[in-house]
Symmetry: C2
Subunit: 587 residues, 2 copies
């Protein structure tokens, strides 16, 4: 990192700004491609180091972990999507989409840490559109989805060219925690739906066995990750547990479902596979999108816009959380360029009839976590009890992140390998019950570490056992209740709408939380209260540099980002940072 | 407690001793009935206060909790015994036995805190004898068991008259932890057997559903008890959770198994019941023991001796742990008298053909716990970090125990109520799966809090995070390993023998741990090491007073009981005492 080209990093991080611009140049949207140009100029000098820096063990561990952590939920969602889109999207489509996204973003992406793949929300989108389309004309679903993607791609490009990603710098924990809770709840609901499907399609024996496997899978992974973050055994052993919890748990429970006897004979459901490299439906890979009537082409436009809105929030928040404040990142971000690329993959996904990939909210930060070198330090607190008395506490510190694009690339190669015939058959051995377990562990991870739940626990805790220097004590209890109520209402609205045919509208709700935080929240809370309750999701200057500098909240005279996140700083000072558990947005 | 009659308590506690006796009077066994006489003389003055002191809410909470905690494992064992003794012992026998024991010991017992009922070990005994008897002559099982009980009763009376219970004062954590681990493992094995039975008899659907219910029941109770010992919510609310975890969990999961649909239709097994107040087999309540051939009468003698050995250890250890060091008991104990009474109940159980009751290891200390008034105090540790810095910790203190005999009596009445027709039908709604869950929660509670496991975790923990003042650091690691290996070998031997037809011999193994601790262990460990590693299970002078004073270990010149249990004292000083979880012998 001592090459002369890096000396200008600080300068590059701050060169993209609108502070000193005047006339029409003041308007972001009119400075066409300015963000993308700066993104590339900023990141390109690091390209060689992105490959060279990868020569460590972390890259291998990260590749294996991300392969499982990426492919398991993708398969889980595909199972769901397969059933609910008239079997249009199958395993081959999902693998193709994941591999395409991994290749494009690992080679061309400005921020290769952001893992891109199939999310639960695009699955929700696809089957909700299917529900709407079948009302009119089931046969046009493929072409309609293709046009939705084409429109979405066009909107992506417009957003990227007009530098609109800049507004993501206003994302604080207020909205990202709400989004995390929403995603967590949806995951858990999907897990239950998966088990219910087992009951209704394969009968009660398969159903109960699946419930048992899903619960035990959840407990195994949870237990392994818990052990991995304890102080038991040597650090290298804990590291292995943390890295390979999913691998160990998945292999064990897949094997368990195949033990001869009651288990094997029960006939629970396994992942449905079809001929390798061919689409699930009898069609070519190219969708004949030119065969769609013009009225449907334009009917797809609003859907395309909603997909763009979803991706605008979901992809950028994945990228933000992958570069969140707890990771000591050194290399710069590139939101505009990556969003442009996302438009390209959306277009490709559309014309080949595969699910549109985008940034993965739980997986992207887990990727950074898997590349982070953690050190568990000993923190000795001298006490005045007795002679030489002291308390010994482990404090976890993130010392460095292996920032490179090789682990993402290798993971993509592994997914392409999985698309071949023999490995598809290995995939077919995986019971749907394991995927229900994946939903639970990912969903609960997102809920457990969520700031909303943490604040609720704070409110429930008996007052006298709260450390007196906890910053939350500086905020009145009813203000904390008001704050988490706002978040909870947002979450509840999103969850409710997701269960209806209006589900495709939920990106509007989620995005509305950002302006709500910027304009409404400061009217109800003082700046001191917000300093404790809220925090910028990413405050690294390398990240904010790509978004046109730190955000300017209307109510605050001076933008003092230094004061933000008192509660988080307090927690980190006392306990160190916690590992990124799969599924948790914060911490 | 200010009555004049109590003033001599300290004197009464120390009046039963052999220290200053000479001639034939030095030999305990020759001082016939001396222990029993002192037991009665010591306890009788407290009889009125045992009733008067019961007028508090604790008695009600204790009665409800103990009813569930006593009857659930008893039913669970009876299910097992019912199947494995040719359906000789059924629910009516188990209820009769529990009610009889509760009535006798609550009214006449010297220490009414010791809950007496049906243990897993007597169930193991009964079906192992069945396995042996059926080899020769299945028809004599009832009469043979009766004679076993008669012989056992005679041996009980001999032991009580000859003051042999005195040797229980040598019981330290070395053997009581081993016994706890053994009991815990047996419980877990029984839980698995219960589920396997569901698979083989009722088919895989019932099997998987039972597995699911057992796991979720375990998690519910564990979660409720965990919440109850946290610092969340108000103390009274936590108290309710701790008191009624079993009640809430059991009612919920029994109801769950009856939800119409897949759950109700699966047809899992429920407790088998028969006509109220009648024996399960078509017989009268009196066993015709005079119809047994003389050769079989004498064949039953060694079995009776083994039953006595089992009860000698099991009943007395229940009584010891019910009066263990963490409970601030004020009223005296009475081991000899209670063992005499146990002989009487054994005799009655024998001639009526019901399972022989004895002291319940997990339940007896839970009874004392349910009567203990805990206060969670705030412990502020001043630190030298920053101005006014401090750490806040909850410290649980046991301030008093409601020592009385009413809760035990009411619990007995409740069990008698359960014997009536309508309530038997309520019992019949309980699925066997819930009992598998009971086995798991009780078994795991015994293992989790066990000193053997705690020392293993200590050895596994990364050295730098261990508090420097932890007394275990004063003992070399290989000595700790040797110590827990001795315990583990004892446990493994007992578990192994329990799976064979030689199972009835396991009391010999368990009891052998006491002389092993007294004569062999001091040769391998220095007194300083034993002070850290081991501890008297009960060190209250009111308890030791009934056993002829504190123990004298051969290797130690001066009996300094003050030095024992450094590790335990250290833990209590730092964290306070922990609630007695169902199934844990220590803490």
């Amino acid at each position: 990192m001592s090459d002369p080209q890096y000396l200008s990093r600080e300068k590059l991080s701050t060169s993209y700004t609108y502070d000193k611009r005047s006339g029409w140049r003041r308007f972001r949207a009119l400075n066409l491609c300015r963000g993308m140009y700066h993104d590339v100029r900023r990141r390109l000098p690091y390209y060689w180091s992105d490959i060279r820096d990868a020569l460590t063990y972390r890259t291998i561990a990260s590749t294996i972990r991300m392969y499982f952590v990426n492919i398991l939920p993708a398969m889980a969602y595909t199972l769901d999507m397969y059933r609910r889109t008239g079997e249009f999207y199958g395993i081959n489509e999902a693998l193709f989409s994941s591999a395409l996204a991994a290749m494009v973003f690992s080679i061309l992406g400005a921020q290769p840490l952001t893992i891109v793949g199939i999310t639960g929300l695009i699955s929700l989108f696809n089957y909700t559109i299917y529900d709407i389309v079948v009302i009119y004309e089931p046969a046009i679903y493929a072409n309609f989805m293709c046009w939705t993607a084409i429109w979405a791609a066009i909107f992506h490009w417009v957003v990227a060219v007009c530098n609109l990603c800049d507004y993501m710098r206003y994302v604080t924990d207020f909205s990202s925690e709400s989004f995390g809770a929403y995603v967590g709840i949806i995951y858990c609901i999907k897990g239950v739906e998966e088990l219910v499907n087992e009951f209704t399609v394969y009968g009660p024996t398969a159903g109960f066995m699946s419930c048992m496997i899903a619960i035990l899978y959840f407990l195994s992974i949870y237990g392994l990750e818990w052990l991995g973050s304890s102080t038991v055994c040597r650090p290298w052993f804990r590291g292995i547990l943390a890295d390979y919890a999913y691998v160990i748990g998945t292999i064990f429970w897949v094997g368990f479902a195949h033990i001869p006897g009651n288990l094997k004979e029960t006939g629970i459901s396994f992942i449905p596979i079809s001929r390798a490299f061919y689409p699930t439906q009898p069609r070519g890979w190219l969708i004949h999108f030119w065969e769609l009537e013009v009225k449907w082409v334009f009917a797809a436009l609003p859907f395309g816009f909603l997909v763009m809105l979803l991706f605008y929030y979901d992809h950028n928040i994945s990228s933000l959380t992958a570069q969140a404040r707890q990771f000591p990142l050194k290399k710069p971000a590139g939101f505009h360029w990556d969003f442009f690329l996302l438009g390209c993959t959306t277009f490709l996904a559309g014309i080949t009839g595969i699910p549109m990939p985008n940034g993965l909210v739980p997986q992207a930060p887990v990727h950074t976590d898997s590349l982070t070198i953690y050190e568990t330090d000993l923190h000795i607190i001298p006490t005045s009890e007795g002679e030489g008395a002291e308390l010994r506490r482990p404090i976890v510190k993130a010392t460095a992140v292996v920032e490179q694009r090789v682990s993402h690339f290798l993971m993509g190669l592994a997914i392409m390998g999985t698309m071949t015939g023999p490995l598809l058959i290995v995939l077919h051995t995986m019971p749907a019950a394991v995927f229900a377990g994946v939903f639970f562990i990912v969903g609960w991870g997102s809920i457990e570490s969520n700031g909303i739940l943490q604040k609720m626990i704070f409110l429930l805790r008996e007052n006298r056992f709260i450390q007196r220097d906890d910053p939350l004590l500086r905020v009145r209890r009813r203000k904390i209740i008001l704050y988490i109520s706002c978040q909870a209402i947002g979450v509840a609205a999103c969850v409710a709408i997701s269960q209806t045919i209006a589900a495709i509208g939920f990106p509007i709700l989620i995005i509305a939380l950002i302006p709500f935080r910027v304009w409404i929240i400061p009217k109800w809370f003082s700046q001191e209260e917000l300093d404790v309750l809220d925090d910028l999701t990413a405050d690294n200057s390398a990240v904010l540099g790509s978004l046109g500098g730190p955000p300017k909240f209307p109510a605050v005279e001076l933008t003092e980002t230094e004061n933000y996140g008192l509660e988080r700083r307090y927690s980190e000072q006392r306990r160190g940072i916690t590992h990124q558990r799969m599924g948790s947005i914060r911490r």
